[in-house]
Symmetry: C2
DNA sequence: AGACTAACGGCACGGCACGTGCCGTTCTTG
DNA sequence: CAAGAACGGCACGTGCCGTGCCGTTAGTCT
């Protein structure tokens, strides 16, 4: 997995081959195929083994600050760090490999989304949010524009942009009497 | 281009090969390579030749209804139609091919986004929106969650979901005295 | 301790699609 | 009507795929 990330950063996902990974790692191809059914599955595990756990939510009581901090951290890892191209390529791979799509969702997207929703829920329970607000939707409105920038328009994800999304979200989310 | 879409729907993008397209079309490979530099470029042109133009905005004066109608139409084409898997695969391809990413943006995403912004602008000029509202951001908040569902969580894009996103957007967008 | 077995690294193989030559033919253009 | 470009067809070398088959190593069980 270490070699996968190394070679992936050097060559890019498109030119990355299991053959080259095995050779560089000093390993037979069988040993790779025995554990991973495809290049995508290998990359998913490789990426999750790095920093997948680092994305935990703080709960300082200040919802907006907590959201901001966690998102900035995720953006730093997935959109700015050296692994960003590989993560994007993995999402790309998910578009034509249902197995990868399912695994990516199950092991990364869904847990991450659940954490966001849980944090929103905590805030709602404390009366910081309108009780009828759709938390899943709020999560999507928060994440959606960021992934949109990352994957579609490919513009840089500045922290200013994150703040603007947060502003917009809270403008429609605040406690309504 | 017709053969590309046909074969693409049959085999899926991953198994689609220029070799097979040329053979099915009764054409030499040179003839394909002369016009398109990659499978992705060919698919982009093929997709744009279909229904790319059908996504124009109505302007009935009712902003919400117009947005809703245009989005439902786009969703029908890109997320529900038979070309949906190919469109998703193209976005996937853009993740590791900067040329495709640029072309996709320039020829599809940006024009579409510009239309949305223009429609919002018209509404703002008529006083239907707060004058200080960030239209580009509004567009992203509208599109983002939809692409998020389409590409990331891969859940179905129901018209109910579209409506909920619209609701959320307008809750934070309405004219503020 | 020793025997058994599963996993291993290395190598070779057939298969496929890539991208690019070269052929002789057909179509377009001036 | 002549020149040249574009064409369909075919073949080639290349790279990686996924899978066999070796002989060796490492872990397990009694």
């Amino acid at each position: 997995m270490r070699t996968t990330l190394e070679l992936g950063q050097e060559l890019g996902y498109a030119k990355l081959s299991i053959e080259a990974i095995a050779a560089r790692a000093g390993v037979g191809k069988h040993t790779v195929y025995r554990r991973w059914s495809s290049k995508g599955a290998l990359l998913l595990d490789s990426l999750l083994s790095r920093g997948g756990s680092a994305l935990d939510y703080p709960d300082t009581g200040d919802l907006r600050a907590d959201l901001r901090r966690q998102i900035q951290e995720a953006v730093g890892l997935l959109a700015k760090g050296p692994l960003s191209p590989l993560f994007k390529a993995l999402v790309g791979e998910a578009q034509h490999d249902p197995g990868i799509a399912a695994a990516l969702n199950e092991r990364f997207i869904a847990p991450q989304a659940a954490k966001t929703v849980a944090r929103l829920e905590a805030a709602r329970d404390r009366g910081q949010l309108a009780p009828d607000f759709d938390l899943d939707l709020a999560m999507a409105i928060l994440s959606g524009p960021l992934y949109f920038r990352l994957l579609i328009t490919q513009e840089p994800l500045t922290s200013d942009y994150v703040d603007r999304v947060l502003d917009a979200l809270f403008a429609g989310m605040g406690p309504r009497p």
